[in-house]
Amino acid sequence: MSDPVLVLRNVTRVHGVGETRVHALRGVSLTVSAGELVAVMGPSGSGKTTLLTLAGGLDAPTEGEVMVEGTVLGDLSRKALAGLRRRSLGYVFQDLNLIPALTAAENVMLPRELDGVPARTARDEAAAALEQVGIAVLADRFPDDMSGGQQQRVAIARALIGDRRLVLADEPTGALDSETGEAVLRLLRARCDAGAAGILVTHEARHAGWADRVVFLRDGVVADQTRPPDVVESLLADNTST
């Protein structure tokens, strides 16, 4: 495997204490390498979102460790963790969290500005990121003046700006129609093909289809996962030919 960007090692997360203790994850190990898109599927309560928040350093494991590009997140100070999150990680959440008072370009460049990048550079990077998601012309629009699909693209551009190495997506297609949703998945796929590592949490198998590997979570453990493409392709070759 090429270089691992994200490593979860024997990660357990327990919420609550005593009688209300809930094991959201139990001893989960997962490695996502550069260029790889991994989809995580499972029923609600299986630990999908917990896994994503741990991978993104938004929450800390009860046991085990989370490493991003070789750095154990638990070893970092709050400030260092926040810096790493801004530089290495991109998030696309179900609710887009776009700031209504900022234009598309301003929303996208915000994480870079927070990181101390000069405004001019941040603006250029934002333009490039918006270009990449196909809405360069909407740079000066406000979120309220855009369709749901366009807003989603802004959120993705924000997750991609500044060459993030790890992209975390939680149901990124939200309520988009199937074709716009597919365009979003294509973007995520392209980003991983260009060298990022990606995790996609979804309950839609059609979206998981874009991943290199699909991990099935159940009651906080990895219940199963798909085999590598070449293995599957040779099995399918008997039924479907191109």
Binding site: A208, A211, A223, Q225, P229, T240
Partner: protein
């Protein structure tokens, strides 16, 4: 058009998902000719017969496009049959059966998606066929999720050490 060309056109549109036997094409053309839906217009030196559609044939094609595909007798579904039998068969780990199928179906879905992304600007007909395979696989996964949920609700009582009442309830429900 002659038989071989028809076969090529069909396979180009459907991405060879349903390979067509050329013999089958000629038999069908023979039947269509018998019924007056096509007529032979020419026979080339190599013995290839060229066919043209007749007015009656055109009307038949229009009618075919205008009529919904019949859903009256559902095709045999081995997976539905397998699960229907598994829930009552002794010693079968039904959740494991469901998960194994889910993984296999998602793997197929990934393979279809790779086909699709490899032909991003591909032929529209072919894209529609791949999408059909993808949506069918997705529906299967959703149905498997549903089966699993239903199974959990249904099975919960008799997971406990078997008591007379739980056993009776279980059987009655299974018979429904």
């Amino acid at each position: 058009m002659y038989g071989y060309q028809l076969r090529l056109e069909f396979e180009a549109s459907t991405g060879s998902t349903w390979p067509l036997n050329v013999g089958q094409v000629y038999t069908t053309l023979g039947r269509l000719e018998r019924d007056g839906l096509v007529r032979a217009v020419d026979t080339a030196e190599e013995g290839q017969r060229t066919y043209a559609i007749t007015d009656a044939g055109r009307a038949e094609v229009r009618a075919w496009f205008a009529t919904p595909v019949s859903r009256e007798s559902p095709p045999r579904d081995e997976l539905a049959i397998k699960l229907a039998l598994a829930v009552n068969a002794p010693g079968v780990d039904v959740p494991a059966v469901i998960q194994a199928q889910r993984t296999a179906t998602v793997e197929a879905l990934q393979a279809y998606t790779r086909l699709k992304s490899a032909s991003a600007d591909g032929d529209l007909s072919w894209l529609l066929v791949v999408d059909s395979l993808i949506f069918a696989a997705e529906a299967e996964v959703r149905w498997l999720d549903h089966c699993e949920t239903r199974l959990v609700r249904h099975r919960r009582p008799d997971r406990r050490p078997i008591t007379g009442t739980a056993d009776v309830t279980g059987r009655q429900e299974a018979r429904r």
